[in-house]
């Protein structure tokens, strides 16, 4: 066996599929006001936060679960879930990493996320979220020097209530759709980032999400605020153990960019996708929305979606400030019985706003992939433009690839261009590569990586390497 084959052998299975035996504190099963009060209480939240949650819950009770999406799933019993689960050892948050449960550190080591700062990887500050709580944030001192706030959401509610109060729920209001409202009621933790005026964040910020406990839903909430003239690049990664049940992950992510600020948000999503027969896996129903509030602001989403049994999300940009820019780069890969319905929304409200959408979908096995997007140019958004390109690649005739773009142009000054293609890897390309000594799998890998290159280029270096590998692994065994 040469090294490459060995690597493949190792990678063939979902390598993050282990679970950690760790003592948990859980909220009682079910969804009701008491559980919400329990969550709020255990996090020692102020009254306004509890009110925020209860308000959302009131609203939630009136909402109906949406069913217009392409991938259908069996009904979720929302009363049969634990809404809060935390490792016992962090119920009083450790002062430093030495106090952390060694088992937790071990888990993150296995995941390849170094929480020890000395083992730092090219200077990335990490916030690790385990089930419902944030367990550790690294590089705090370095960041504090620049006035940057990077901490868990719970900590931010305690320490920076004014900032949280001012911005939380302004992009995704509690009155939004079913899953977003559910999140507003029961969210447990997540990351909070504030970049002060004029600061360029000196390192990549990163959050690593891990679902460990069974029968839990993960509801994290992330809020990133880039003040005037600042810049931040934020990475997000996710894994979960292999379990036969389907687990729900319904996060809310809000981004706010003020005048001249730029936020770059990258995701490598590798939740457990279920086994090859489609049993188990994560339901990834996430709401991500960015608001370009100020002039000349920019928000850029990059996502590599390889995991989850069902991915259902549309990272969006609301381009409110004049001259603001929204970008969306996506690779979505589905294999076996995975299903994805993903895309973006670009809502142009300000003058001279620009948006760009590049989406690459690859489906193999029995999977089903949908790109669904909205480009909406408002009548006030003079001189705006949008460019959309979505390409799909099919491998085999048991899978599906669909494109459903909605295009609304209410402004005669603005231009929208949309292109989409669907094809398979051509025999000629394969033949050409094989003629030059690549085996069929390598050839496909090369061609797929080329197909995705436009998006991979957008990822920060460290992630790009991981993403490229993931692309290869996800399609393992689908060639032939």
């Amino acid at each position: 066996m040469d090294t490459r084959e060995k690597n493949i052998e190792q990678l063939k299975d979902y390598k993050y599929g282990f679970s950690t035996e760790i003592e948990n504190i859980r909220a009682p099963k079910g969804l009701n006001e008491d559980v919400i009060k329990f969550i709020s209480n255990i996090k020692k939240e102020p009254k306004w936060m509890l009110d925020f949650r209860l308000n959302a819950f009131e609203r939630f009770k009136k909402l109906k679960e949406p069913d217009w999406q392409k991938p259908k799933y069996p009904k979720i019993n929302y009363q049969d879930l634990y809404y809060y689960s935390a490792p016992k050892s962090v119920s009083d948050k450790p002062k430093n990493l030495d106090e952390l449960d060694p088992k937790l550190l071990e888990t993150y080591k296995k995941l390849g996320i170094p929480l020890q700062e000395q083992a730092r990887l090219n200077g990335i500050a990490v916030d690790a979220v385990f089930d419902s709580v944030s367990v550790a944030t690294t590089f705090k001192d370095e960041l504090t020097k620049h006035g940057i706030i990077f901490c868990s959401m719970s900590e931010a509610i305690q320490k920076y209530p004014d900032l949280v109060k001012k911005y939380l729920g302004t992009v995704i209001p509690t009155t939004d759709h079913f899953f977003a409202t559910l999140n507003s009621a029961v969210f447990t933790d997540g990351s909070f980032v504030y970049i002060p005026e004029g600061i360029k964040c000196p390192m990549e910020l990163s959050t690593y999400f891990r679902i460990n406990a069974s029968e839990t839903g993960q509801f994290e909430r992330t809020l990133i605020i880039a003040d005037k003239g600042s810049y931040v690049s934020y990475l997000e990664g996710c894994t979960a153990p292999m379990r036969d049940e389907n687990q729900l992950h319904a996060a809310n992510v809000e981004l706010i960019a003020l005048d001249d600020a730029e936020i770059k948000y990258s995701t490598v999503q590798n939740w457990y996708p279920g086994d090859e027969n489609g049993k188990g896996g994560i339901y990834n129903f996430v709401t991500k929305r960015g608001l370009c509030k100020g002039k000349n602001s920019k928000i850029s989403w990059t996502q590599v979606e390889t995991g989850s049994a069902i991915t259902w999300k549309y990272p969006s940009c609301i381009l409110k400030g004049d001259n603001s820019i929204g970008e969306f780069y996506s690779i979505a890969i589905t294999n076996n019985h995975q299903k994805a319905d993903t895309g973006t929304k670009m809502i142009h409200l300000g003058k001279n706003t620009k948006s760009k959408i590049i989406s690459k979908g690859i489906s193999a096995g029995f999977s089903d992939m949908t790109y669904r997007g909205l480009v909406d140019i408002n009548s006030k958004a003079k001189n705006s433009s949008n460019y959309t390109q979505c390409d799909s690649l099919l491998m085999g005739n048991k899978c599906g690839a669909h494109t459903v773009p909605y295009i609304k142009n209410k402004n005669y000054d603005s231009n929208i261009a949309h292109e989409a293609t669907t094809s398979k890897i051509s025999e000629e390309q394969l033949h050409y590569c094989q003629q030059r000594g690549l085996n069929p799998e390598e050839a496909v890998g090369l061609i797929v990586n080329g197909f995705c290159k436009e998006v991979l280029q957008q990822l920060p270096m460290e992630f790009a390497v991981e993403a490229q590998k993931l692309v290869g692994i996800s399609l393992e065994g689908s060639v032939g």
Binding site: L394, K408, D413
Partner: protein
């Protein structure tokens, strides 16, 4: 509305001679329609144009009863000049004349009474409405190996005797092996504020060729829905051209099932709208077997407060390898208040296919206008030249030279 429609339905039955079987069939569809009502925004297909609301706003209460016993006088001045043609004339929803005098009568069969076929799918409430209220449905069969010598012009006319009425029409066409048929639908209205619901069913056998040109050119205040269902066997070709410009509101739907290998479907359309007009084209092309082809081109020119929408779907079954599907929609917005919506959709389950779609919308390019003006045209002329060029592209797609010229003359592009 429910009470009204029931009373009108009773009245319709009393004044017509339907068989018991027909009545049973009609009852079924009436109940189906009452259950779902007029389509509204909540339905995905009607997202861009809420028919229920539009009827409410423009017509108010609809009346469903039509007296088909009175004959209307056919006004011969409406006939197309300079083109010999066969005719079907509808006046206020009543068939006044069917004339195939140019053709061999053994080769064209006209049935005015046959068993109504239940439409297979369908949650389309407007088809239910159509089934419940159509007075007479004709089936025209073109026999094997026969090509109609002259095109068939179907005149859809209304006069000022009707107002706030719902009119339902239905025609069936059977094209047997190797036959061919050219149809021009001409819409001519003198009435205002009616809702006209037209349903065509085409059945194309092997090697049959169908060309359907729908011309809605003359300004009128009616609300119109036209549905073409086309079933195609192998090697058959269908061509649909839609000029969508005259009615106040219009929605054209084309549903095409490519059931046989090497069959192909072409849909081309023009929206030329102004002054509060709202039009939509929705196409569904189902590629169900190998080696089928579809091509769609839709262009819009939108003036003040005009709104157009294009929803196009290409469906490729997992059996339908080697499918070639193409879709392009373009729009020019001339005014601050014009609006263009599109939903070009691909649903693909086979891997060896070539499918693509494109959509672009924007204003006229100022640089190009500048170029033309620097060569001596004035602003208005330059603009017209550009718009004409933009639309001519679609008209050039018409494969029948005789009809291409006719359409050009109608729109004002003289050769």
């Amino acid at each position: 509305m429910t009470e009204k429609i029931k009373i009108d339905f009773e009245k319709t039955l009393k004044n017509s001679a339907f068989s018991e079987k027909d009545i049973e069939f009609k009852m079924k569809y009436l109940n189906k329609f009452i259950e779902s009502g007029l389509p509204n925004r909540k339905l995905e297909n009607w997202k861009f144009s809420d028919l229920s609301q539009i009827i409410q706003k423009n017509i108010g209460e609809l009346s469903f009863y039509n007296d088909y016993s009175i004959q209307n006088k056919v006004d011969t001045s409406i006939f197309v000049d300079g083109l010999e043609h066969n005719k079907i004339i509808f006046i206020n929803g009543r068939v006044e004349k069917i004339d195939f005098s140019y053709e061999d009568h053994n080769k064209v069969k006209i049935d005015d009474h046959f068993e109504f076929r239940a439409e297979s799918d369908n949650n389309n409430s407007l088809l239910s409405l159509n089934n419940a209220f159509t007075n007479k449905c004709f089936r025209i069969t073109i026999k094997k190996d026969y090509s109609l010598k002259k095109p068939l012009v179907i005149y859809h006319t209304t006069n000022n005797k009707i107002k706030s009425k719902n009119i339902n029409l239905k025609l069936e066409f059977e094209l047997e092996q190797n036959s061919s048929l050219r149809i021009i639908d001409l819409l001519k209205d003198e009435s205002v504020n009616n809702f006209i619901n037209i349903f065509y069913n085409f059945n194309l056998k092997e090697n049959a060729i169908l060309k359907n040109y729908k011309i809605d050119k003359i300004l009128n205040k009616n609300i119109r829905y036209l549905f073409n269902n086309i079933e195609q066997q192998s090697n058959s070709v269908s061509e649909t051209f839609i000029l969508s410009s005259g009615s106040n509101f219009s929605k054209n739907e084309v549903n095409c099932n490519l059931n046989g290998e090497y069959s192909s479907a072409f849909v081309n359309g023009i929206f030329s709208l102004d002054n509060e007009q709202q039009h939509e084209i929705r196409t569904i092309i189902n590629h169900l077997v190998e080696n089928t082809k579809s091509y769609q081109l839709i262009k819009s020119v939108l003036g003040k407060n005009a709104k157009s929408a294009y929803q196009g779907k290409i469906f490729v079954d997992s059996k339908a390898q080697k499918t070639d599907g193409y879709q392009l929609s373009k729009a020019i917005l001339l005014d601050e208040t014009s609006e263009f919506n599109a939903k070009p959709e691909l649903e693909i389950y086979a891997d060896d296919v070539k499918c693509s779609h494109g959509s672009a919308s924007g204003s006229l390019d100022e640089n190009t206008i500048f170029y033309l003006m620097s060569r001596g045209l004035n602003y208005k002329q330059s603009k017209e030249l550009l718009i004409n060029g933009f639309l001519l592209d679609v008209i050039e797609k018409i494969t029948d030279p005789e009809i291409k010229n006719l359409v050009k003359n109608m729109i004002g592009f003289k050769e």
